[in-house]
C-alpha cells in the first residue's frame, strides 16, 4: 500500500483463541498500584512463545 502503512500484525482476535492461560503478571504487580494499564503486560503463554 502506498497511502496507508500498517504498524502491526493485528492479531488480537487470534490471540483470543490460544489465550487465556492466566500465567501472565497481574497489572498492579508491575509498577502501577494506582492506575490500571493491562496492555503493557508481557504474554507468558508457553504455547505462544
Amino acid at each position: 500500500m502506498k497511502q496507508i502503512k500498517t504498524l502491526n500484525q493485528a492479531n488480537l482476535k487470534q490471540s483470543a483463541v490460544k489465550g487465556g492461560c492466566g500465567e501472565c503478571q497481574a497489572s498492579c504487580q508491575s509498577a502501577c498500584k494506582t492506575s490500571c494499564t493491562v496492555a503493557n503486560q508481557k504474554c507468558e503463554n508457553e504455547n505462544n512463545q
Partner: protein, 455 residues
C-alpha cells in the same frame, strides 16, 4: 469501531477489535469522515465529490482501494466477536497477592491512599503465622496456575523485613511440592535500605518498585517524614546503589504527579539523569477537594505534558539516551492476549490483598472498606459470590467501556477508583479514563515515530 487522531503530524488509525494500527496519508484519512463501520464496495458519491476538490481522482481511487483492502482483511471496522469468549471470564484461580506485611510507615506522604500507612485501621505489622497462612492460601486457591506473584506491600514492608525473609523462605520450601513458582516483588519507600537489604532484594525479588516523585523539591513537598522534612536525600543514593547491583532483574523507580507538578516530564527526565532507566510517574488519584488533586481543569496541561514527554523520549531514543516510561510501554504485536484484556486487572478474582490481620480484600486499594472485605485467611472464610462479582466486572459489563476505543488497553480501568470516586465498581472514573486515553495516543504515536526512523 475505530479511533482516529492526528498527533505530531501522524494521522493514526486504530482498529479497536483487531488491534491493527495504521498511519494514513491525508486522502484516506479524510475519507474516514464519510464512512461508518464499513467500507462499501462502491465509494460514497458525496465523499468523492467533496474530496475531489482537494485531491486528484487517481489519488482518491488508490486511497479507497487501500481502505477496502484493510476492511476485507479485517483490519478496519472489524467486528467485535469477543462475546464468544465470555465463558472464559468466569471465576478464575487466585494467582496474585498483595501482602500488606506492615500497616505502618516511616513516612507520612500527603497523598497516601493507605491513610499514611495504616489504612485507617491502626498501625500493625503482620505476624509470621499470618504470612505463612497467606502462602498456603495462595497455593490452595491457585489450582491450574504455576506462576504465582506476591508483592510485599504496606505501609512500608521493610519495617517488617525479618518476617518478609521468613515468608520467602517458607514459600520457597513449598514450591517443588506443589509445582509452583513464586515471583516476589516489593514496593518500598527506600528509607530502610542497607547494603544487606539491597543484597537480599536483588537476590530474591523479581521486581522492586522504588518510590520517588522526581526532582528534590517535588519529592520533598509531599513525601515527608513525620516531622515534615523530605526524604529525597536519604533515598536517592540507596536507590542508585541498589540499581548498580541489580543485574538484569526488573525494577521501577516510581513516582506520583499531582496538581503541583503538571510539568512531570521534568521529573521523569530527572529520574533518568539520576541513572534510572525504568521509570513510572503516575497521576495521583485522590479526593478532588484536596489541594494537590488533579481535576478536570488540569487535563489540558496534563495532556500537553504527556505529549512533551513523548517527544523528549523520541529525541532521547534517537540519540541513544532513551529510558523506559511505564505508561508508554506498548507492544503492538506481542502484548497480552485478548482474554487477558477482557479480564482486566483481575482484582477480587485472580488478585487479592491480605492485611496483617489476615483479612482478604479485592486489592490493596479496597483495604479498610468493610463492605468489600472478602473474608479472613485465619478463619478460612472467603466470599465466593463476591469473587464472582469481580470476575464479571469487565469491559462488557461496564456501560462506559463497551463502546470505548481504548477498552482493550486499560481493560476497564481500576475498580477501586470506580468505587471510591463513582460509588460503583461498574462505573468508570472519567478523569482516569481521559488520562489513560491520552497516554495510549502518545504511546502509539511514539511507535509511529520510531517506525519512521527505523529505531
Amino acid at each position: 469501531m475505530i479511533h482516529k487522531y492526528t498527533l505530531n503530524g501522524f494521522h493514526i488509525v486504530l482498529d479497536t477489535n483487531s488491534g491493527a494500527v495504521h498511519i494514513f496519508d491525508d486522502a484516506p484519512y479524510d475519507m474516514l469522515d464519510y464512512l461508518e463501520d464499513e467500507v462499501p464496495q462502491q465509494a460514497p458519491k458525496q465523499m468523492m465529490d467533496d474530496l475531489g476538490k482537494k485531491y486528484d481522482k487517481a489519488t482518491l481511487d488508490e486511497a479507497y482501494n487501500e481502505l477496502k483492502e484493510l476492511y476485507e482483511n479485517g483490519q478496519l471496522y472489524s467486528e467485535d466477536g469477543y462475546h464468544n469468549f465470555s465463558a472464559m471470564l468466569k471465576e478464575a484461580p487466585v494467582k496474585s497477592m498483595c501482602l500488606n506485611v506492615a500497616h505502618d510507615c516511616n513516612l507520612r506522604c500527603e497523598y497516601c491512599f493507605a491513610a499514611k500507612g495504616d489504612f485507617g485501621c491502626g498501625r500493625k505489622l503482620m505476624p509470621l503465622e499470618v504470612g505463612k497462612k497467606a502462602i498456603d492460601f495462595l497455593i490452595e486457591h491457585s489450582k491450574g496456575r504455576r506462576n504465582l506473584e506476591l508483592d510485599f506491600f504496606g505501609g512500608e514492608p521493610l519495617m517488617n523485613f525479618q518476617v518478609v525473609k521468613e515468608i520467602v523462605e517458607y514459600a520457597r520450601s513449598q514450591e517443588e511440592k506443589h509445582n509452583k513458582k513464586f515471583r516476589f516483588t516489593m514496593t518500598t519507600n527506600g528509607l530502610l535500605l542497607t547494603d544487606d537489604v539491597i543484597e537480599y532484594l536483588n537476590k530474591e525479588m523479581y521486581n522492586v518498585v522504588l518510590s520517588l516523585d522526581g526532582r528534590k523539591e517535588i519529592n520533598d513537598m509531599l513525601r515527608v517524614h513525620a516531622d515534615g522534612s523530605g526524604c529525597y536525600d536519604a533515598i536517592v543514593p540507596k536507590y542508585q546503589k541498589l540499581i548498580a547491583t541489580r543485574g538484569d532483574k526488573d525494577y521501577y523507580v516510581r513516582g506520583t504527579f499531582t496538581k503541583h507538578n503538571l510539568d512531570f516530564a521534568k521529573d521523569a527526565v530527572h529520574m533518568a539523569e539520576l541513572g534510572f532507566d525504568q521509570v513510572s510517574v503516575e497521576p495521583v488519584v485522590s479526593d478532588p477537594k484536596l489541594p494537590y488533586s488533579l481535576q478536570e481543569e488540569d487535563l489540558p496541561a496534563a495532556f500537553a505534558e504527556y505529549e512533551n514527554l513523548a517527544n523528549i523520549l523520541i529525541d532521547r531514543k534517537k540519540k541513544g539516551e532513551g529510558f523506559n516510561f511505564f505508561h508508554f510501554m506498548i507492544d503492538l504485536d506481542q502484548g497480552p492476549c485478548a482474554i487477558k484484556r477482557l479480564r482486566g486487572c483481575g482484582c477480587g478474582n485472580e488478585y487479592v490483598c491480605i492485611t496483617p490481620e489476615g483479612d482478604i480484600y479485592p486489592c490493596h486499594q479496597f483495604v479498610g472498606e468493610e463492605k468489600w472485605k472478602m473474608g479472613n485467611i485465619m478463619e478460612d472464610t472467603f466470599n465466593i459470590p463476591m469473587k464472582q462479582e469481580f470476575a464479571l466486572t469487565n469491559v462488557y459489563s461496564k456501560e462506559d467501556c463497551k463502546d470505548c476505543w481504548a477498552k482493550f488497553y486499560c481493560s476497564g480501568g481500576c475498580a477501586a477508583n470506580s468505587w471510591q470516586y463513582e460509588g460503583d465498581i461498574l462505573k468508570s472514573h472519567k478523569l482516569s479514563c481521559d488520562l489513560e486515553k491520552k497516554r495510549l495516543e502518545c504511546a502509539i504515536m511514539m511507535k509511529a515515530a520510531m517506525a519512521e526512523t527505523n529505531i
